[in-house]
Each structure stands twice: as structure tokens, then as C-alpha cells.
Symmetry: C2
Subunit: 219 residues, 2 copies
């Protein structure tokens, strides 16, 4: 019997910002300005706290008083065992499998260090519908991501456009912190985020991983 | 029998940046610059991930190749039960008790949104030595914090100088996210952070909470 996704992926949810080529290129001009004056040279991480966890077919609450809420379709990588200073060559041996993540956010001024208040509302990180074992996906860098709002295709990209692929992410993160079994790497959301409203149905479809469905509800 | 700190404080470790008056005033000039152009009007949060957890008398590893490592003495507030939209007046009913936190960090350019890489090294968040019940502390906003390095007093402040007190923090955070039983609010580190080196012993002393001791060791 397969253990369920939510019994395995119980750890920290690590988001990686700016990890699609198109998004990074859109933002490059901003990084010439103070205070940064250059684009980030290392992965820009953020955390989705445990209160953000949500499930396939779970409701996502549209917070009262906000002007925009945006889904963030992403490939999720579930860590199988503790990983410290793992090389890129060995990295996939530390992966249990893949799932779909829809990482909701209130849009922000700065992509550099996403804010807890924008990223960490209750229910703002849906995972599912299942954990697909690592060996079932021939090449995780050739998967198509599609975002549908009320059955309309509004965002489409491919993991071929990741700035850092999965082995490189695991190597760079585990170089400075231990990744634990059950942690999830949210490998990035592509450019072209759209707004959703209460009543909308949001689906994320990734090749081989099925479809993650959530509904936006008013507070 | 009293349940031990580390059996209760199992949740998310929330850091609050810029929560001492002296520190905020030091930094005010920076906030006139782009991209922010004003000081933060809401608490600036960061997360200490689970890999950062450390204990009284635990070793803190000085990462190879870094130039500075700084302890961050702070009052920790352990949440007793799930808190959503709690008023400041009711907030202390959601507190299990207090402990000492030493929240280590590599110094950073920006106080606005502290970086995972600087804050989330393995063992960079020591908690202890015990959980002191909420009723045992008459006024948590009148506690003296002292930081000693090799028995020399190097930092001293008081929780009277918190920008946001504990009820206000709980009210402002629980307004947008649910705080869970076992979560810890790290209420802030005062200005005047100092560097430590491998071989140093670091003690944090807070009125009524005892003394939290850690040793810095080379990698």
C-alpha cells in the first residue's frame, strides 16, 4: 500500500522565489536599483508555515480587505531522508517523489524576500492530490504545468524553464541547512500570475502528477 | 509533573525583527531609502526552521567561511492553544509560558526581511532551559535580558523596550494567521549585537527564566 502524501510530506514547506527563467528576466531591471544593486546569486527562499497547509479539493479563503489573491502553480519535491551537503549528482536519491503545489500569495512589491504576511495565510499552500514516486517520473525537468481558473487555461509553462533544477536546489540548500525527511521544496512559480476571486475554481495540472483542485471562498 | 519545554514548544518558531525601540531608531534612516521609503508599519516576521532547534548546553556550529556570527538574546513566548483573531486584551490566555531564546544569525544587510540562509543554519535557535508558566511572571514587559560571552556582560536590555508587547504581537499575528499550540514567538533581539567565535561560551539570562548556555564550536 502506498502511504498517503500528507502522511509523508509533514515537514517544512520551502518556497523558492524567482526560479523560472521568464520571471527572473522580467525582474532583472529591478535588481539594478538600491538596496540590492544586483540580481540574487543564490536561491531566494521563503517558508510556507504549517498553518498554510491545504489539500486537494480544500477551500482557500479569500481574505477580507485584500485587493488581489494569486495562485502559484509549482512542482513540489518531497524529501525522503535527511540531506546535509548532498552533491547534485546524489540529490535524487534523497527524493521520495513529486506532487503538485498551489502556493497562494498576496502580490508583493519585492520578490527578494517574500513576506510572511503575504505568503502565510491559513490554507495558502495546497498540496496534492497524491505523492508520485520519484521513479515514476522519467525527467522532472520536462513537465508541463498548467493553471486553470474555472476551466480556462490561464498559465502554462514547463519545468524545463527552472533556473535551478531539482538536483542543484537540493545541493545548494543542503550545503547550509539540513533538509529533513518529509520536507517539501516548492520549486518555483512561473511568471504570469493571475488574480482569482471568491467563487473561482482553480486547478493545477502537471504532467504525470494529476490535477490539484481548490475553490476560492469568501471569508 | 511539569511537561518539559521541548515537549510543548514543538511548533513554528516565529521571529520578530526590529522589535526593540533602540534598534528601530538606529535603523529608521535606512527606511527613507528605496525601495521601502518608510519604516515598517506591521511586525516584520521571519521563521526559524525546525533544523535550527537547539537546547540548553547544546553546541552551536560556527559555519566555515563566514566572517561573523551573532547571538540574539530574546524572550520566547510559547503559545498554549490555537489563536485566531485574538484581541490584545485576551492574548495572555493563549500563552503557556515563557522561555529564553538565543536566536543566532549571520549579520545581514537588510533588517526588513531576514534571509533564510542567514537565520536558518542547523542549531541556530537555542531554547531553554525550561518553560516558565505564564502565571509565574508578574509582568513580562519588565524583564532584564543579559547576554554574556565568556562571563563578560556584552548586551543588556529590558522587555520594557519592546516596540510591540506580547499582547499586541499575538493580536497582530493572529489577525492574519492562526497561531498553533506549541508555536513560539521570539519577541525580538535588542540592538548591540556582538560577534562570537569558536570556543566562546554564550549565556543568556532573563529575569525569572534562568540562564540559557551554549558553546560555539568550529565546524
Amino acid at each position: 500500500m502506498t502511504r498517503a502524501l500528507h502522511d509523508i510530506a509533514t515537514g517544512t514547506l520551502f518556497g523558492v522565489a524567482l526560479n523560472y527563467q521568464g520571471l527572473l528576466h522580467q525582474r532583472l531591471a529591478e535588481f539594478d536599483q538600491p538596496p540590492y544593486k544586483q540580481a540574487p546569486v543564490k536561491p531566494v527562499l521563503f517558508i510556507k508555515t504549517p498553518n498554510t497547509r491545504n489539500v486537494h479539493q480544500g477551500d482557500v479563503v479569500y481574505p477580507a480587505g485584500v485587493e488581489h489573491l494569486q495562485p502559484g502553480p509549482a512542482l513540489g519535491v518531497v524529501i525522503a531522508k535527511d540531506a546535509s551537503r548532498v552533491s547534485a549528482a546524489d540529490a535524487l536519491a534523497y527524493v521520495a517523489g513529486y506532487t503538485i503545489v498551489n502556493e497562494f500569495s498576496l502580490p508583493e512589491d519585492s520578490y527578494y524576500r517574500p513576506a510572511v504576511k503575504a505568503k502565510c495565510r491559513d490554507g495558502f499552500c495546497a498540496l496534492g492530490p497524491t505523492l508520485v514516486p520519484v521513479d515514476a517520473i522519467a525527467d522532472p525537468h520536462q513537465l508541463t504545468l498548467k493553471l486553470f481558473v474555472n476551466d480556462e487555461l490561464v498559465q502554462e509553462n514547463t519545468t524545463a524553464n527552472l533556473v535551478r533544477g531539482i538536483p542543484q536546489l537540493i545541493a545548494e540548500l543542503s550545503e547550509f541547512m539540513t533538509l529533513h525527511a518529509g520536507d517539501v521544496l516548492i520549486t518555483g512559480t512561473p511568471e504570469g500570475r493571475v488574480d482569482v476571486r471568491p467563487g473561482d475554481r482553480v486547478d493545477v495540472d502537471i504532467t504525470g502528477l494529476g490535477r490539484l483542485t481548490n475553490r476560492i471562498v469568501a471569508e
